[in-house]
């Protein structure tokens, strides 16, 4: 009889199920995984070093490019860290706008995750459904910041500008005639808030659609139930946060436990799993989308009632408006100083964390009193989750590696930084 021995296979970095550029070295016994060694860093751009060489206010854009499917949540953590050291609090309306866009971002992220996860497991349809809704949400990004992904919308001291009164409209083209365009523009007649409200009214039915396809689906359950189980104790020891921790049954959510912005004024629930397998993490994230929708609705109601400033009026950190700049000498000087030298942040160190769609996203900022960060450390949730992959996949089959990996919701922009 021939000798049976383990063999090693290489997975990625160009594999579509590797979620970007993950290279996995898998040691297999037949089709069973003995050991998995993730090789990361193929997307390492030294973001932290780049940030240390730029003034504080020029690095917000780098944050968008970390986890490039939940852009504004990354910005939020960085902006919060700066505000903590500066000792400023943005106006209340800006905080509501931030919360609303954080939740829009959460839905955006979970939609991409759900689509990609289902696709990895073999269900094509969900991906198409999810991208249909992502389109609307990216339009919100575009309407408010001008960019569909890399928004740079949150600024120290508030948000870049107030919510617009009108939505961009589709134009008739070779592919869409007047009639088709009119129906596309139907819910874009009012302000951005009207558009988001229309979306939030439609969205629960749409989540039902995804659930019809997956939640009770026999194949889906066979592929995800009891795959990649992590016990609550182990999840804490491994540093899990966010949906990964909640999927294991630990009711921990920074929005509830250590609220930032105006999350303490919001009414929402934290979904918690029971067994800590891939299916639980799926159910938790789907419910999170519904809860995010609830928060969005509350923000819309508040924002309609309460107009007000969205930026501080302190021109030592916030640039003056264009009109002021062109008519007032003092404003011109402030503008010049802010865009050539930036602002200095008092000496000290701060850690600001937000409940990012993927877990706890934190920024550790050390300032020596200069106009550039002395040290910036990005605590990316995906990095910690991926480090536990080896433990989670041991003893599973090759096909389960893909399921477990995508149930971790990995994005390489933040893992490699």
């Amino acid at each position: 009889m021939a000798d049976i021995q383990n063999y090693t296979i290489n997975f990625g970095p160009q594999h579509p199920a590797a979620h970007g550029v993950l290279r996995l070295i898998l040691e297999m016994d037949g089709e069973v995984i003995e050991r998995a060694d993730p090789h990361i860093g193929l997307l390492h751009r030294a973001t932290e070093k780049l940030v240390e060489n730029k003034p504080f206010n020029q690095s917000i854009g780098y944050m968008d490019r970390l986890d490039y499917v939940s852009m504004m949540c990354n910005e939020h953590a960085y902006v919060l860290a700066m505000e903590k050291l500066l000792g400023v609090t943005p106006p209340i309306r800006a905080q509501y706008i931030r919360v609303m866009f954080d939740e829009i971002t959460r839905v955006l992220n979970h939609l991409l995750w759900l689509g990609a996860h289902a696709l990895d497991v073999g269900a094509m349809t969900v991906f198409l459904y999810c991208f249909r809704e992502r389109e609307d949400l990216l339009d919100c990004y575009e309407a408010v910041s001008g960019a569909r992904m890399h928004a740079t919308y949150y600024r120290p001291g508030g948000v870049y500008r107030d919510l617009p009164d009108c939505m961009p409209q589709y134009q008739a083209s070779r592919w869409h005639n007047e009639k088709a365009t009119a129906s596309l523009n139907e819910n874009r007649q009012g302000s951005l808030l009207d558009f988001i409200e229309d979306f939030s009214n439609r969205f629960p039915t749409l989540v039902d659609e995804y659930e019809t396809l997956l939640t009770d689906n026999r194949i889906w359950k066979q592929r995800t139930v009891d795959i990649g189980i992590v016990s609550p104790e182990r999840a804490k020891a491994l540093g899990f946060t966010g949906a990964m921790l909640r999927g294991s049954g630990v009711a921990w959510d920074l929005r509830k436990k250590q609220p930032y912005a105006v999350y303490d004024k919001m009414d929402f629930d934290i979904p918690v799993g029971k067994t800590g397998d891939c299916y639980d993490r799926y159910v938790v994230r789907v419910e999170e989308m519904r809860q995010a929708n609830r928060i969005i609705k509350q923000c819309i109601a508040w924002l309609r009632e309460n107009p007000g400033p969205v930026m501080l009026n302190n021109h030592k950190i916030v640039p003056p408006s264009r009109v002021e700049m062109k008519s007032d000498m003092e404003s011109l000087i402030h503008h010049f100083k802010l865009f050539t030298e930036g602002f200095c942040i008092p000496e000290g160190e701060a850690y600001a964390a937000v409940e990012h769609p993927k877990g706890e996203f934190g920024i550790y900022l050390v300032s020596d009193g200069a106009n550039k960060p002395y040290r910036l450390k990005i605590r990316a949730p995906g990095f910690v989750h991926l480090s536990a992959l080896d433990e989670m996949v041991r003893g599973h089959m090759l096909a389960d590696v893909v399921t477990i990996l995508s149930s971790q919701d990995i994005v390489f922009g933040e893992v490699d930084r």
């Binding site: 070093k49 730029k54 003034p55 400023v88 020891a237 302190n314 000290g348 009193g369 605590r379």
Partner: protein, 231 residues
Amino acid sequence: MNTSQLIDSLQQHFANTIKDVSACCGEVTLEVDKSDLLSVATQLRDTPNFKFEQLIDACGVDYLTYGVSEWSTNNATATGFERGVRREGEKIHNTEWDKPRFAVVYHLLSVSLNQRLRLKVFVEGEPPMVDSVVDIWPAVNWFEREAFDLFGILFKDHPDLRRILTDYGFIGHPFRKDFPLIGNVEMRYDASQKRVIYEPVSIEPRTLVPKVIRHDNRYAQELETPGEANG
């Protein structure tokens, strides 16, 4: 538990081992000697009124150029903007750094007691070396690999201390302050040798904005009041 209570119980519990404990922006920082790291870390995890069962983050910090700025801000100088962007320009030491060059900073979280702590250890020597806490918090595994890769800090008894973020065969520790931003080598595909080759970098380093330290916190009072919308 609020920060002052946490500081009190830290001071009671670790009376002899604490080097420094402070609170800033509502966060508590505990500094210990590197020889006490393992015992302090174990107690922080297991003692009932600390219970830091989660390690959120660990990272290295290089204090080589801490408080050094490139532009004099206290008085006018004869030269213009180029004094800041010139690579070998003046270096102004604003604060004297009397501690070791490297630090490892751990961020701890207690899920059960809802509290956070920053644990700081200064490490000296070349290469700097500190005990690994991977047996206390398994989550630190990749963070220590990262600190080794980027700062060259060695972690004693780490099971698998390999480079993690940089390329296979990379030389140097890129996040050290004396490692140039543009790097040391660049690579390209050489058609004649039919392989990827490494060469010294050909681009010029440049400073777009000089590092400036200004002590004008005279506006600190004004920062509190939200004003009118703009932009």
